[in-house]
């Protein structure tokens, strides 16, 4: 299986639009204005720095994880204007002025809170490293689809790898969250 075919299969359409090679990277950008979890920041980083590393190394928001650097695993999933986005493959400069939400603030939304609680109730996590990304993808799914089927879940969540294979509980927890949101 090739990376490109995987990408076509699993990347949500909105993420594809944000692929770095389709975004002109500004050559000079001394300060990048960012809006992270409702707070404004001015990031003094090279414009090609992926959003992931700005979040983690510059802003110390370490809940968003590094897993592959190629948008193959989804561990770095955040929301950009509500759309699930792989932060490892988006230059920080491309999200200037857009609203970025990370796992640290997901409980400030009703859906985020419901998903978190479902995850805890069903003890979805094992090692936990991928779960920030899983939760961000699940929240985005429920924001657009309040009663997802197993097939809907599989298609929305297939870009998020879990090496502990907690997939069965992820499905159950998304159904559980949908139930509490109904």
């Amino acid at each position: 299986m090739l990376p490109s075919s995987l990408w076509d299969r699993f990347a949500p359409p909105a993420v594809r639009i944000l692929l770095p090679n389709r975004i002109p990277i500004p050559m000079e950008s001394p300060m990048i204005p960012l809006n992270i979890n409702g707070k404004p920041y001015q990031a003094d980083v090279a414009p090609d720095t992926p959003l992931l590393w700005v979040l983690r190394d510059t802003l110390h928001l370490t809940g968003t994880k590094y897993g592959c650097g190629q948008a193959l695993c989804g561990a770095c999933t955040v929301h950009v204007d509500g759309v699930p986005t792989r932060a490892c493959s988006v230059p920080a400069s491309s999200v200037a002025g857009r609203k970025v939400t990370t796992i640290e603030a997901v409980d400030q939304q009703r859906i985020g809170k419901a998903v978190q609680e479902a995850w805890r109730k069903l003890d979805v996590v094992q090692c936990g490293y991928c779960q920030s990304g899983q939760i961000m993808s699940a929240v985005a799914l429920l924001a657009t689809n309040r009663r997802p089927t197993d097939a809907d879940i599989d298609s929305a969540m297939a870009g998020n790898l879990c090496r502990c294979a907690t997939y069965q509980r992820i499905r159950a927890a998304i159904h559980e969250a949908a139930k509490t949101l109904a």
Binding site: L2, P3, L6, C127, R163, C164, I170
Partner: protein, 739 residues
């Protein structure tokens, strides 16, 4: 931070020698505060007052803190160990939190590993079963004794429930927090009584994971998340082949990258140190390194396999023998033969390997998802010229391991240490260094599940009885050449190469298992979740179905016939078969689809697991696993929900290896580097998994690994039933299964 931890050393000696409970000295609170996940450099939230032993503390705020001597890497150990303590302590589960214990083999050794501290072999619960309950019971006795004195009532009349101590007759009542100071002054009991299992309130019930909250809000601290003042991030250029070394390098361009601070050569390659990860990566990518390949390993996987197949034609070292196998084959009416190939496999934990080290005048501090505390401590002490106790290890959560962090030779930890050593004194303030392996570094670094070739033969006599079994294995040893060799390798046989094969449970009168251990293959190998059983369960159980077909017998019936002397194997087999509806017709698939059901049973780490797989094979040979029904006997199921979780996860982990898992070498270079060419199972491929637990009063055995081995053979046997085609290599090739 104020610390009023008790100084009465006698309490730290309680139960010493009487019950195998080793208790050390007062844990310096500064270290303890740094030790746990989420605690890198922060202080403890709760004031410490009552610290009855090395495994728990009770704060005046009623918080019970359990110190886990084992790593939490997803397998649920923090929750399991805390359950044992809280059960005997009669603590309120909601007030229980867990911290990783520091590296200190005197107090925190794995009781199954002698003097070493570490996590592996699915031993965490098994070795701690009595130790942690006694730790909780001792603390409870001290709280009760303190209350009895305060209230002047007989201790025997005191009741403890959900962290509240009370004396019903006098209506006295106090929380653990209120009694903590007084309890700290109590003598440590020499003996404690443990509960009758019928009185368990947490063990065997649902106790929610202690790490669920922090792992769902981004707060859980992994090594990757450690941020220390002035810390530098190191990304390393590694050689393209195992055994290659640096000939020369040009760091001019790398040093021109904004944020890059230093470039140093280390035995493992060339390290670029920068103020942040992205700069370190860009610096590494800008390096020009010339490698010396003169001593590098240059074979490809195909050539290794060819060599192994040749070796398999000659007798190996006998690992197990019963009866006279050669004579049985000479007289056989029918002989069944098959051979199996297993590739190198990467662990591919979601968190690539990493390690943070800070060197100071007094010693070194390490932050790591630490799985081999003692081994890494000694390795670091050796490199830095320190005493082992000068190496302080803070154990953080590990983002998966599956064996990888249990390095037999401290590989990635030493890589970080070499970088620290190389910059020592060169940069003002001697900053901490975080070694970060990018996914590509992690996947190409070796320490794989070894590539193996197996050849099996079965002899069936004129009466249709299975009378002979010969099993030959060829593959690298994990243990030979490692510090564990002396302990675990006997007469040249690496026990983990043949586990699951040499102890075949089936009643076959004439049996021979032999092994070739090539020593000229330069690919580092390591334990991978379920170790030897990751291949031996497949070869033995898939082969047995071929034998059953040749004998015209039902796979479950034949196994039960051969397992008369192994009731725990038979027990899980019967349960899985019953729950899966073995023998009933499967619902047919869509036009062109072939469906089948297959079974496998395997014991590993003293736990017994049987699984029935239901598969659908499409016309194009692609395989969908629809359902796995598992039955588990792991002794007392301390946390049944976690037993289920581990088996569910074990199924998904193993299924990746059935469908995709394969690290291949070409001219000595690893061909895979990321999840694009080393795919893992995704949610849309996850079967429905049902887990049934056999009720048992036997002491708890492993559960992190035993769910893995039966998966692949059960699927192979289901494919055999569906298509008539026997899988002889993993991962499966769809081209071999087209209709």
């Amino acid at each position: 931070m104020t610390d009023i931890a008790i100084a009465n050393l006698s309490r730290r000696r309680f139960l010493q020698g009487s019950a195998g409970l080793t208790l050390g000295f007062v844990l310096p609170t500064a270290i303890a505060a740094n030790a746990g996940p989420g605690k890198a450099g922060e202080g403890l939230a709760a004031p410490v007052t009552f610290e009855p032993n090395a495994f728990l503390r009770i704060g005046t705020d009623n918080t019970v803190t359990v110190l886990s001597k084992h790593l939490e890497m997803g397998q649920g150990t923090y929750t399991g160990l805390a359950t044992l303590v809280a059960e005997e302590l009669d603590a309120d589960w909601k007030t229980v939190r867990v911290e990783g214990a520091p590296a200190d083999a005197k107090r925190y050794n794995n009781l199954f590993w002698g003097p070493a501290q570490g996590t592996g072999g699915s031993t965490a619960m098994a070795n701690s079963w009595e130790q942690m309950r006694k730790a909780g019971a001792a603390a409870r006795a001290m709280l009760v004794s303190a209350a009895a004195q305060q209230w002047k009532v007989p201790a025997g009349e005191i009741v403890v429930h959900d962290s509240v101590v009370s004396h019903p007759a006098s209506k006295h009542r106090a929380t653990f927090g209120q009694l903590a100071k007084a309890a700290a002054g109590e003598p440590v009991p020499a003996e404690v009584n443990l509960k009758d299992p019928k009185d368990f309130r947490l063990i065997g019930k649902k106790a929610n994971r202690r790490d669920s909250a922090d792992k769902t809000n981004g707060k859980a601290q992994f090594t990757q998340d450690v941020l220390l003042p002035g810390m530098l991030v190191a990304v390393v250029a590694h050689p393209p082949r195992f055994g290659a070394t640096v000939k020369s390098f040009d760091a001019v361009r790398a040093k021109g990258v904004k944020g890059v601070v230093e470039v140093v050569q280390i035995p493992q390659g060339v390290a670029v140190l920068a103020t942040d990860t992205w700069a370190a990566k860009k610096g590494r990518d800008a390096l020009a390194v010339t490698w010396d390949d003169s001593k590098a390993f240059k074979l490809g996987s195909a050539e290794i396999l060819d060599r192994y197949r040749e070796l398999a034609k000659t007798p190996g070292q006998v690992a197990h023998s019963a009866g006279d196998a050669d004579a049985a084959f000479a007289k056989a009416a029918k002989v069944v033969r098959a051979s199996y190939d297993f590739p190198y496999l990467a662990h591919a934990a979601m968190e690539p390997m990493n390690c943070v080290i800070r060197l100071s005048a007094d010693g070194c501090e390490v932050w790591n998802g630490e799985q081999m505390h003692t081994g890494d401590q000694y390795a670091l002490a050796g490199l830095f010229g320190l005493k082992p106790e000068q190496v302080t290890i803070h154990t953080l959560y590990a983002g998966g391991s599956f064996g990888r962090r249990a390095s037999k030779d401290a590989d990635y930890v030493l890589e970080a240490a070499h970088i620290v050593k190389a910059i020592n004194g060169k940069i003002s303030g001697n900053p901490a260094v975080k070694l970060v392996w990018l996914r590509e570094d992690d996947m190409r670094a070796g320490y794989y599940r070894p590539l193996f070739h197996h050849a099996l033969e079965a002899a069936i006599d004129a009466d249709g009885k299975l009378v002979g079994w010969r099993h030959r294995l060829v593959g690298q040893s994990i243990l030979i050449g490692s510090p564990f060799e002396k302990m675990l390798v006997k007469d040249g046989i690496d026990g983990v190469s043949v586990e699951g094969a040499a102890n075949l449970p089936y009643a076959i009168p004439n049996l021979k298992v032999d092994l070739h251990t090539p020593t000229d293959i330069g690919v580092p190998v390591l334990w991978w979740r379920s170790v030897g059983s990751s291949h031996t369960a497949f070869s033995t159980e898939a082969f047995l179905d071929q034998v059953a077909a040749a004998m015209g017998k039902d796979p479950v019936a034949l196994r039960l016939e051969l397992l008369a002397a192994h009731p725990r194997h038979a027990g899980v087999l019967k349960l899985a078969a019953e729950k899966a509806g073995w023998g009933t017709p499967l619902k047919p698939g869509k036009a062109g689809e072939r469906r089948g059901r297959g079974v496998a049973v395997h014991e590993s780490f003293h736990s017994y697991v049987a699984q029935v797989a239901e598969v659908t094979v499409a016309k194009d040979g692609s395989v969908r696993v629809d359902r796995i029904v598992a039955a588990v006997d792991c002794g007392v199921a301390i946390n049944p929900d976690n037993v289920r979780a581990q088996v569910e996860g074990g199924v998904g982990f193993a299924l990746s290896a059935v469908l995709y898992g394969e690290i291949t070498l070409k001219d000595g270079q690893v061909e895979q580097d990321n999840f694009g060419n080393y795919p893992l199972l995704r949610i849309n491929e996850m079967p429905r998994v049902e887990v049934h637990i056999v009720p048992s009063a036997a002491p708890p055995s492993g559960i992190g690994e035993p769910g893995v081995p039966p998966v692949a053979p059960a699927i192979a046997n289901a494919i055999l039933a569906a298509t008539g085609k026997a899988l002889t290599r993993l991962p499966l090739r769809t081209v071999e299964l087209t209709a």
